[in-house]
């Protein structure tokens, strides 16, 4: 079980997506997943080992690291990728449900089980809203947990058993900050894509119906 499972899931959803949805899948694959696996994971690999405090007191380093990094950036990033891709499962489940229903009744109930109309369109819209909501929630979580998206070189720690206020140094802070900004930028891009897709779908169908009625009147 690894990231390959997520890839298969998203490739499956790609079939039932709009053009913008496919761009979203490409952005998630290439600019988020691939960057995470090929580059970002290694930056945070030894973050605990390389976190150094100016003190010999046993336990002080552990306690300070835990105080400043309750959840590591990289784990939050991985969670975000998984949670944000999950709503796409709703669409896949709905299409599977439609196909099973056709098999069960042994007749053609839909024009095509994967066609985005009626209930499937609602499911698709709900998945878009959930994706956007999860993106925003994770960005806010990142902001609140780490007081912004900056990674400082030095943090001052006075948690027991540290005897006084102790200087602790974070490893590779600049590199971590660059990749965090990259994460934020790609999240915002995905939010914009989701909102565009949402508006496109919401306005497309009423507009089609209005144009049909307009043409009928003229005829």
């Amino acid at each position: 079980m690894s990231w390959g499972f997520l890839c298969d899931l998203l490739s499956g959803v790609n079939k039932y997506s709009t053009g913008i949805g496919r761009i979203w899948v490409a952005v998630v694959f290439i600019f988020r997943l691939l960057v995470y696996i090929a580059a970002a994971e290694n930056i945070w690999k030894y973050e605990h080992d390389e976190f150094e405090c100016n003190i010999e007191q046993p336990g002080c380093e552990n306690v300070c690291f835990d105080h400043f990094f309750p959840v590591s950036h990289i784990r939050l990033w991985a969670l975000q990728l998984i949670v944000v891709s999950a709503p796409s499962l709703l669409v896949v489940f709905h299409v599977t449900y439609r196909e099973n229903r056709e098999k069960h009744h042994n007749q053609k109930l839909y024009r095509s089980p994967g066609q985005r109309d009626g209930g499937l369109l609602c499911t698709y819209l709900i998945s878009l809203i959930l994706k956007t909501a999860f993106e925003v929630v994770f960005l806010v979580l990142f902001y609140k947990l780490y007081n912004g998206f900056k990674v400082p070189r030095l943090v001052k720690c006075d948690v027991r058993p540290c005897p006084n206020t102790v200087d602790c140094y974070i490893s590779k802070p600049t590199e971590k900050m660059i990749f965090l900004y990259f994460l934020v930028a790609t999240s915002c891009l995905c939010i914009v894509l989701n909102l565009s897709e949402l508006s496109y779908l919401i306005f497309k169908y009423p507009l089609k119906r209005y144009l049909k009625r307009h043409n009928k009147k003229h005829q």
Partner: protein
Amino acid sequence: MDWGALQTILGGVNKHSTSIGKIWLTVLFIFRIMILVVAAEKVWGDEQDDFICNTLQPGCKNVCYDHFFPISHIRLWALQLIFVSTPALLVAMHVAYRRHEKKRQFRKGDQKCEYRDIEEIRRQRFHIDGSLWWTYTSSIFFRLVFEAVFMYAFYFMYDGFRMPRLMKCNAWPCPNTVDCFVSRPTEKTVFTIFMIAVSSICILLNVAELCYLLAKFFLRRSKKAGNAKHHPNHENKEETKQNEMNELISDSCQNTVIGFTS
């Protein structure tokens, strides 16, 4: 998900590229991605562990490492490869869109559609003409821009392409100017120069491909204008002949250059 997935995606674009495009793709896969994964990652693997400063002051090493390497070479190359490969996706999306339109025409029973079945549409190789030409040319242009930007960023951040053995650091909390020693500086310099050289080759290939496409475009235009004047019906025969020649050239190149299956 890893570089293999990127290889699969780009391999699909290979079918619709020019011969120079196929050479570029080969150079990208073999001399950049493979070298990065198989060799370079190991050379930079222990970079912070073996970065040693001549001081016992806690925190000095961390701060000095961060000061001299704001972003590691290996991460910068990974980002460069991702960004440089991405414009090819534009071409893949355009081809997929064209294929989708042809399938729609076929299903409607359009008489203009010349395919016998859907499988033929799926297997068909599109020529680089019309709007696909613009997409393809823009993708090459963006590739060039990204390559140039990353090479400049490299040069600017590391003051050249050499990795020094010794760096003098006086960032706080280091008490004085402290000597810091980089691990494997010569090996890192060799790989850096190799990657820069291959980037330059890729830039040259992209420039050559761009010139080739532009030359073909202007040549076709002038032929059309000339034919329209003298032989209004002749231009279609000439175009079909040119298309057949293109197909022959690219097919023969596909056999000689290492290609990646779609």
